[in-house]
């Protein structure tokens, strides 16, 4: 079931609605990169951010970009946007790979018209709420971690100035994320920005002699370097190892998910796996680990946002490699720095559907979360059932489309809220890319993957029709009054292939 979408959205233009996951119409060529040159002795080091913004020749109506590896510890986006405001610039598009509660100061800049547009893959906190409440002049564009580099590389998302938080940099503009007081590990989400933006400004609190090692982003992509006192709050950057859930229900679901991997014939030598960083996802990793040890299986790779748990599995030889686009904790940062089998990848390498084969295409098993999942297996991780923006795809719809087996693991209800529903409030990930749902009320297999059912039943898994699960959910929770949003479209959800899969309408204020 597809959404009925408007054919035209003001400030965005004609709408190309979602058809199916691999409906790709590649242009013959990518957008051309800007060209400029630098002579020996040219100085990239500027005294402060304001001077760098001036040199970039950013104008009203321009687009600036940011990456989110400093997560909820990031000072950079706030300080840059304050300077942009102080310079009197208006009508700026902020293309940030993710936006967190720490970015609350941007709300005032949205109100004052400094920021009028946002492109992001994930947002939570005051900025997300401001967008949902209709404060932003133009509809936000919500992409996936793979859709963003697609949009940048094809010229759909044109960046005037990319601001790159650089935990370590040198005067040549070479950058890495593994050294320095604000070390965050991988810088994978900033790479496309550094390649395609008209001007690239590295902001660092750790300038060391040329050339640094490793080099994650080469200085040949970087125009200016600015030193600031602090990129962010390490406590927010590196959240510390998430612990595996101790909730018995969560553990039961994780165990079931592991059985499903087995049932699908994927619990074997060379297994590759991605999970989220939450306690429930890590529980799946923990059960997989047990089974891998028991069966003497060595996996090939773990992918995506990386936690200490996967680092541990790499050390134990349970995986041969980790492909890292983002580090979630200090163990991951240290492993990326020190372990040659833990390697950094950029967002395009990770998940861009429009290149010669992103890493997600080689992924066996993806463990997905869900805020809602509907009887067509569509998943929402973008808004609450009340329509409030509180997330976004990140790599969700990328990995679902790429992996051989995508499993949504969730409780069927959360408090009084139904999670398995008739129709999700917002589609983030189309049902055709979701293979199995695991809940405490049973397991549902997507009819497209019917061939999985016998093996699951053989393993003693209770396989049910998703409609039955949903019906039972509603019997327990009652059918909540459907969310009735305002008319105005405050955001669009762009599927990884560039088609619009859903819109988000204004929240009541």
């Amino acid at each position: 079931m597809k959404r009925i979408l408007p054919s035209y959205i003001e400030h965005l233009g004609e709408v190309t609605p979602f058809t199916y996951a691999w409906d790709m119409t590649p242009p013959t060529h990518l957008a051309p990169r800007y060209c400029s040159f630098s002579k020996p002795g040219n100085n990239k080091l500027l005294p402060n951010l304001r001077e760098a913004i001036r040199q970039s020749d950013l104008r009203d109506g321009g687009t600036v970009s940011f990456h989110h590896h400093l997560r909820n510890g990031d000072y950079v986006m706030n300080m840059v946007m304050q300077e942009i405001a102080a310079l009197g610039l208006k009508d700026i598009r902020v293309a940030a790979s993710s936006i967190f509660p720490i970015h609350a100061p941007l709300v005032d800049l949205i109100r004052s018209g400094v920021i009028t547009a946002i492109d992001t893959n994930y947002m939570v906190g005051p900025v997300a709420e401001a967008v949902a409440h209709g404060l932003l002049h133009k509809p936000a564009v919500m992409r996936s971690h793979g859709g963003r580099p697609r949009a940048i590389e094809t010229g759909v998302l044109k960046i005037d100035v990319a601001f790159i938080a650089a935990p370590t940099a040198d005067v040549g503009g070479n950058i890495n994320g593994v050294h320095g007081p604000s070390a965050c590990g991988s810088l994978g989400y900033a790479v496309a920005d550094s390649q395609y933006a008209k001007t690239v400004i590295a902001i660092t609190d750790n300038l060391i002699p040329f050339p640094i090692a490793p080099i994650s982003i080469p200085g040949t992509n970087v125009d200016y370097v600015v030193v600031v006192s602090k990129l962010g709050d390490p406590k927010g950057i590196i959240s510390g190892t998430t612990r595996i859930t101790k909730d018995p229900l969560g553990l039961m679901l994780a165990e079931t998910a592991t059985k499903i991997v087995q049932g699908a014939g994927l619990l074997k030598e060379g297994l590759s796996l991605q999970t989220g960083a939450g306690g429930a996802s890590l529980a799946v990793a923990a059960f997989m680990r047990q089974e891998m040890i028991k069966r003497k299986i060595q996996g090939s790779f773990a992918l995506g946002g990386v936690t200490g748990y996967f680092v541990q599995m790499l050390k134990e030889g349970l995986f041969q490699r980790i492909l890292d686009i983002q580090c979630f904790d200090l163990d991951a940062v240290e492993s990326l720095r020190d372990n040659p089998n833990h390697i950094e990848g950029c967002a395009s390498f990770y998940a861009n559907p429009l290149n010669k084969g992103a890493a997600v295409n080689y992924l066996d098993v993806m463990i997905l979360g869900a805020t809602e999942i509907d009887t067509n297996f569509n998943v929402n991780v973008t808004t609450g059932s009340d329509g409030m923006i509180m997330g976004g795809s990140g790599g969700h719809n990328d990995t679902a489309a790429g992996s051989k087996l995508s499993i949504v693991v969730t409780t069927a209800t959360r408090g009084r809220l139904p999670i398995v529903v008739d129709e999700v409030t917002t589609i983030t990930t189309p049902g055709e890319t979701v293979d199995v749902l695991v809940t405490e009320l049973g397991v549902a297999v997507n009819p497209r993957r019917k061939e999985l059912e016998p093996a699951l039943r053989n393993l003693g898994i209770k396989v049910r029709d998703i409609n039955d699960i949903s019906a039972e959910v509603y019997r327990r929770t009652g059918k909540p009054k459907p969310f009735s949003p305002g008319k105005r479209i405050v955001a669009v959800v762009e599927y990884r292939n560039g088609q619009i899969i859903d819109v988000i309408r204004e929240q009541g204020r």
Copy 2:
């Protein structure tokens, strides 16, 4: 003194003659990269080279590219070109970063019209001789290691199919050069090809599970993977450590060069250095090492083609990093593989004049060789004084232009041949980028760098006018009969900025 060049050359078109080293006219944009996509389950592995060439849709008149990290051990270019010939293709342009004696079988393909054009940065052996003798239908284009990625990135050199010798690869097309039986280390010269070619074919003799680590060239750039039994002859790939010259004259010149570095005020903390891989160049490194130890100086980086001698200096802490575009010996390969301060760079990062600052721009000292140097400090490393092609710029004119101090170290005569001459047979590197000449007949300082002279004299160095040195050379050798070439232009020497700095005319047969 500039060469008088024809305004038009058949098959090449209008000639833009060399003006000065940093005369750059950047286009606003680089050439756009090709775009294509790959779904999960797509198979890149093809059964053989012929099938890969068929899939690439290479046509008559097309351009194929190769990199030279396997040097005189390379089997790949020969086997690919044989298949291309067997498929009946004609009029092919071979864009190879260098060509060696092992590529002799290409001469027959030049004769038969399979190969009608060559772009390269360096060539020696039968192919070079065939070009000099006028066998190639179109004039060869000889670039520098930095000029080649400039030409590729700007679309001047359009590649239909890049063939990348991959000492290690996986089914996703990820490539590195540090593992496998044909390990050659850095793959820096192949990177631009992988980014800009229409089709990219990796050829490997070491296919291991996805994903390999490290990844030098990502599979997102690679269309097909072909496994062959052997990429090359390890003896030719890894030549074994070159020894420092024992010739007393060579040692004396090296000692003088080291004094000049001191005189120029560059023998200090943070020094960066590139030398060639020959015994005389290594002798300079050896003297530099002594002085650095004596003065307790730590250098910043060594650059370029890397030998075990620099690996040793890295281990000793005399350099903090090595930036490696090509490994000359096994020590270099092992160090690149194992030492995190020994890092791989691509040719554009190394030396492209048309990016935001290549590594050569940060180089303090470059020790250059010369086949001839003239009284305007122009250097020839492309042809002999008899006009025979036997080299090419490689990084010669890139590093001369980028470094703070470029020193040509050579004997003033070689046997009965004058080396310091009135006018070089072929200009590879313009005199304006060469700072000092060191010979056994004295040291000459380029008048553009007159400020260096007092310090050199203070150090007891015999500084002479280069005209006096040349005159003394001619008194000793006699003035040889000037080389009188045929009329036909068989090759052009394109300076790194894209301007034509010289032409090479046909040898008598």
